[in-house]
Symmetry: C2
Amino acid sequence: MIVASLPSGRDGALVVVSDDLSKARHCAEGSLAAALDAGTITPEGDATSFDAGACVAPLPRARQFLDGSAYVNHVELVRKARGAEMPSSFWTDPLMYQGCPDFLGPRAEIVGKPAWGPDFEAEVAVVTGDVPMGASEDEARAAIRFVMLLNDVSLRGLIPDELSKGFGFVQSKPPGALAPLARSPDDLPGWDGDRLDATMCVDLNGQPFGRTRAGVDMTFGFPRLIAHAARTRPLGAGTVIGSGTVSNKLDGGPGRTVAQGGAGYSCIAEQRMVETLETGAPVTPFLANGDRVRIWMEDREGRSLFGDIDQTVRTT
Amino acid sequence: MIVASLPSGRDGALVVVSDDLSKARHCAEGSLAAALDAGTITPEGDATSFDAGACVAPLPRARQFLDGSAYVNHVELVRKARGAEMPSSFWTDPLMYQGCPDFLGPRAEIVGKPAWGPDFEAEVAVVTGDVPMGASEDEARAAIRFVMLLNDVSLRGLIPDELSKGFGFVQSKPPGALAPLARSPDDLPGWDGDRLDATMCVDLNGQPFGRTRAGVDMTFGFPRLIAHAARTRPLGAGTVIGSGTVSNKLDGGPGRTVAQGGAGYSCIAEQRMVETLETGAPVTPFLANGDRVRIWMEDREGRSLFGDIDQTVRTT
């Protein structure tokens, strides 16, 4: 099943989208949030034409957002670039933060101050049904209702000071944006129950920036991330779990840009880390006013799975 | 206005409670979450008898939970007890984390493993209406809809390892519990728009543990905390902002227990810190199976403002 949300109130109006993405039907439950609460999705009425570009986020208000860092290569590069060792436990114990559960639509502007240093982070995300506290990975896997594509917007200029306070992200992680389509696990090419074998595509100002493989180098699959989040609390239906920035560790070393024939990166910060490791200093700037980032995912046949995130930066 | 929620579905059934707490009327909006979305509360039908002991949390599913550490004395004691200096910026820049937005009812058990080291943290909390990104403190003050009483349950046995990972709390902060009554600012004795002048009362296993003054030593008032949270994001109606553990800095030094004639503490951790500073090691254990914690607030006339949080610990 492919679902999306059209603009309507705070939670959007849930529609079930046809396989060819040309038509959609509204649902009796009203919103995806209400449908997840009810555990049912009931299309009703006639199908009308569907335009992914008119959608809000599939789930504009999640119950919780818990974002993992499952591509540990990314975390290791962050540490290396600042000369710190990554604890070896990071390969066995997921890193995760509690994030802002509000999500922007796929074409929402990224707004802020130039000094905030906005960056994108292209991630896979899942929406769960109810997950009991202490759930096993099998229970967690069975609770995955939809898979989505997320831009976890990050304000790099605010992160060092905020993280140094020791309590994680608040100001440095504003609401992210979701691609228009959410797909159930049984209707998602490349999904194996734990990971999504698909290419994470990022273009920055029309130039290829990233073509990473989401199914590779993901140290922790989604069931593990969900179980980690649910260790000491139940997760209510409508909880979003993020993968963290998709990052490939190619040939055992840091990656190469797409222009150099590599997979590139799913965030600017990682390109800057590789630049720092190779030349001693970062070269690529973070996002600036007017920059445009487009993020989508392609299956092995090159079909777009979730539609486009297409955001422009407006700093004032 | 005094409101509460009776058990009904996921969000509870909103009731408006009479001043003498004996009667309540249901509301057309259904739940407090829906009423905050709508910006209206419309009592309807006849008043029926009200029992605060039958209530769920006023807001079982908040939109977001952002918890400050406004009583900086508490933070300074934490640091001192582990031999670390607190950065002086902590007196001017609020410390805040993004927490679990689900809240238990006032009589819910605190469940978990003995090794998790459960503790209570008695806090004041506010519920906001919509707050625009970049809101001023005056805008933030005007957006406060209700004031509540919160037990921010903390798992001390999990905190050191989780915070050392650098991304804040997830597993170590399970859902907290809210006292049954939420009061609008215009119907709350001791509320000055920024702080609540009332006594935070904590009994542990029937013995007085804390009698701290919430209106004293709160370095950052709620409008400042809300503005901090809203710096880079809008806050949707139904966002909960916590004060952090109420803590008094009496006579310029660490506090004394209630038995010693002092104000005591609003969490066990703080008593342990004072013990560590005074004797080199903590003495008071964290919560264990069967322990019972009761938290309430009293105005200057000794009237209970929010009803009781009364939780028993069940570790297995």
